[in-house]
């Protein structure tokens, strides 16, 4: 990814502290002037009232943060699939969102055909493996050494194909995830916090736990196994990995299969919260701002970025959304990422890319 610009900004304000201080000072001055001139209470509504609400009703704040955390886990899981593939093959896999839908649909579809739930999970894993092999054979291998944008477009092709294929096989109607059959808990836990009642869905807690477990397992896999070492080698340099005898084709199958497993787990978690439908395609685009926050190559970055975006989005929607008529959730994440980009283009944990002439 040598084409991401990280050209240093003009070094007038080289010290980040000075820069930050100046920005804060400017905001404070602007606010001070604004409050004087403010007649219609707009500034009050934007800068003071939401925080007052937060302090006055901390239970609502906790509830909102929790909701954000939960949707953040979903974003993080999708972003994780992106990062896995990006690290190993340099492909920006747009199809990750649709792979989630496809995995969930296959699972539910198999169960509806009468396959026992856990057998269905295993068969779905088999399907994801077949998908990984097919993608490697049909798409990646002939496109070796093409520019990034071409590979990116190829994953668009995969997306379209999977949408059509999934709808033709399983129909376009939203389906119910088989959460009970997989022994996922349901119902809610009510907690007495800060003088209010905070209700946590059990499935959300399970989702957070399973996601953490999976991330730990992935980290261990990357760190301690032979294949994991090979994966890291490929991520560092394709050429060097090839020269020490690592089979790129094999690694790509493994990586896409791993992304498929992540997609299946994401699909189960997400399907248990709402229903299984193609609407996730749009949600999957939220993984992009998450990746920008976390950096394209960092697994912890994907997690932290996902949580920040999730929480930021829910807080924004709940406290500031009503000021502009609501529904700002659809674009707030992108603006958060955009603001972030201006200050730290390589993301929180990403590699700093130096561009050469």
């Amino acid at each position: 990814m040598s084409d991401i610009a990280t050209r240093p900004a003009p070094s007038l304000l080289a010290s980040p502290l000075v820069k930050f201080g100046l920005i804060v000072a400017a905001i404070v001055v602007a606010l001070a002037i604004g409050v004087r001139l403010d007649t219609s209470n707009t500034l009050y509504a934007i800068f003071v009232d939401p925080f007052q609400q937060m302090v006055q009703a901390p239970d609502l704040l906790v509830q909102t943060v929790w909701e954000g955390l939960v949707s953040g886990v979903l974003y993080a899981l999708i972003a994780l699939g992106f990062v896995l593939i990006f690290k190993a093959s340099g492909v920006f896999n747009f199809a990750q969102g649709i792979m989630v839908v496809f995995a969930a649909l296959t699972l539910v579809g198999l169960y509806e055909k009468g396959v026992p739930a856990f057998l269905a999970v295993i068969i779905t894993l088999g399907v994801m493996f077949a998908l990984a092999v097919t993608i490697e054979r049909v798409v990646l291998r002939p496109l070796v050494n093409q520019p990034d944008i071409i590979l990116f477009m190829a994953t668009f092709g995969i997306t379209y194909f999977l949408i059509g294929f999934g709808e033709a096989l399983f129909g376009g109607n939203p389906k119910q995830m088989i959460a009970e059959q997989l022994y996922l808990p349901k119902g809610a836990v009510d907690l007495q916090i800060l003088g209010g009642l905070v209700s946590l869905q059990k499935i959300d807690i399970a989702a957070a736990l399973i996601a953490s477990l999976m991330i730990a397992a992935l980290a261990a896999f990357f760190q301690y196994t032979r294949i994991g070492r090979a994966l890291r080698a490929v991520a560092d340099s394709h050429k060097a990995a090839l020269s020490v005898g690592i089979s790129l084709n094999q690694i790509w199958v493994i990586v896409w299969f791993t992304a498929g497993i992540v997609a299946l787990i994401t699909g189960i978690m997400w399907g248990a919260r709402s229903d299984v439908s193609f609407a996730l395609e749009i949600v999957a685009l939220k993984a992009l701002p998450v990746l920008i926050l976390g950096g394209f190559t960092s697994i912890p970055g994907a997690i932290v970025g996902g949580l920040i975006i999730g929480i930021g989005e829910k807080l924004g929607e709940f406290y500031w959304g009503p000021l502009v008529g609501g529904g700002i959730e659809s674009w707030l994440a992108y603006f958060i990422a955009l603001g972030f980009l201006l200050f730290r283009p390589q993301g929180l944990f990403g590699d700093k890319i130096i561009e050469r002439i």
Partner: protein, 359 residues
């Protein structure tokens, strides 16, 4: 045999640098224009004109717009549909505010608003590139789409929340609204597309276009050569959004004739236009036409062509097959010819030039 440059001498700089240096090419363009102007409206059915030719022309214009940004300047945009939407809504506001002004003038003017918004959202491109810029333009896409729904001023506080296209006439011939015939709308589209393509061709072959290509190929080197990145990139955004905005206004006023505009300008449309540009060929005007023809006609052709061939397929199934086929074709094209249909066209011309003795 028929198509070769032997005997065609260039005696001036202008003729050497001509866009169509060969006489055969000029004849070809004339024939295509004649077909578009005479054969299509007189021989084509209303259905063919209204649901094949008009969408094709409008998508071509939008694809040219995006191609200026992505193909010529190398900046990826996923917000094309939103910029088209800006064009559509500003045309609607303009025509309700100034009902006396001719609608064609207003369609051309509405592109300017789109250009302004495009420049605004193009500002981050000065610091970021590639996928990062794609996210910035996604911000534009989702924010503007949100604004189209949530800002009632944009659709004149209609109860339906949609653009209602009023009837506008030129010399007492209705151009827009329910009374306009497909032929009239087709002629308006054709005229606008031809004129704007001519403009685009002049821009990309001129100083501005060259500076864009220099920025695309290596921005630091371009900067060293004295090209101002700020101006070049923002001009690319402005011109690209102008074309997209005009295409969007045409889309609502000359093709859909109203309806849920906020749904029309969704992320799906942005992707579709990006596909058109990629499949047609990055950095090629004729490629934009090829790509638009391929992707806008293919679904219609599949929908009506497969039953005609005796393959029983309809409704939902046809849509699924279309999706699968489009996906498979995108991948096939990328593998066979990553430089798009425009490159195939060039190869074909080269083959034709040496035919029948290729060695």
């Amino acid at each position: 045999m028929l198509y070769r440059e032997a005997g065609q001498y260039k005696s001036s700089y202008a003729s050497d640098m001509a866009v169509f240096p060969l006489k055969e090419d000029r004849i070809g363009i004339a024939v295509i224009l004649a077909i578009a102007l005479v054969a299509v409206p007189f021989l084509g059915s209303d259905f063919f004109i209204a649901s094949v030719m008009i969408p094709f022309l409008i998508f071509s214009l939008a694809a040219i717009g995006l191609n200026i940004l992505t193909g010529y300047t190398g900046l990826i945009s996923l917000g094309t549909a939103a910029f088209m939407g800006v064009g559509a809504y500003s045309c609607y506001k303009l025509t309700t505010l100034f009902p006396g002004v001719n609608i064609i003038v207003l369609i051309l003017l509405s592109g300017l608003f789109s250009a302004g918004i495009g420049v605004l959202f193009g500002l981050p491109s000065l610091r970021i590139k590639g996928f990062y810029l794609a996210v910035a333009t996604l911000a534009a896409q989702f924010f503007l789409q949100w604004a189209f729904v949530r800002v009632p001023w944009l659709f004149n506080y209609n109860a339906s929340g949609a653009i209602e296209v009023p009837q506008r006439t030129l010399f007492d011939i209705p151009l827009t609204g329910a009374a306009a015939t497909p032929e009239t709308r087709y002629f308006v589209c054709l005229g606008l597309v031809v004129v704007l393509t001519w403009f685009a061709s002049n821009i990309v072959h001129g100083k501005l276009g060259r500076s864009w290509m220099a920025v695309r190929d290596m921005d630091i080197a371009a900067e060293l050569m004295g090209i101002k990145l700020l101006n070049a990139k923002l001009m690319a955004f402005a011109v690209s959004s102008y074309f997209c905005g005009v295409a969007g206004a045409m889309m609502i006023f000359l093709w859909y004739g109203g309806g849920e505009a906020a749904d029309v300008f969704s992320i799906r449309l942005s992707f579709n236009i990006l596909f058109m540009v990629i499949i047609g060929g990055l950095g090629s005007l004729i490629g934009s036409f090829f790509g638009a023809a391929f992707l806008s006609i293919l679904p219609t052709a599949l929908k009506f062509g497969l039953p005609a061939l005796g393959i029983p397929i309809q409704g939902a199934a046809a849509e699924h097959v279309t999706f699968m086929l489009v996906g498979a074709l995108i991948i096939t094209f990328l593998i066979v010819e990553p430089h798009g249909l425009a490159r195939l066209w060039q190869i074909g011309k080269q083959k034709l030039r040496t035919w029948p003795f290729p060695y």
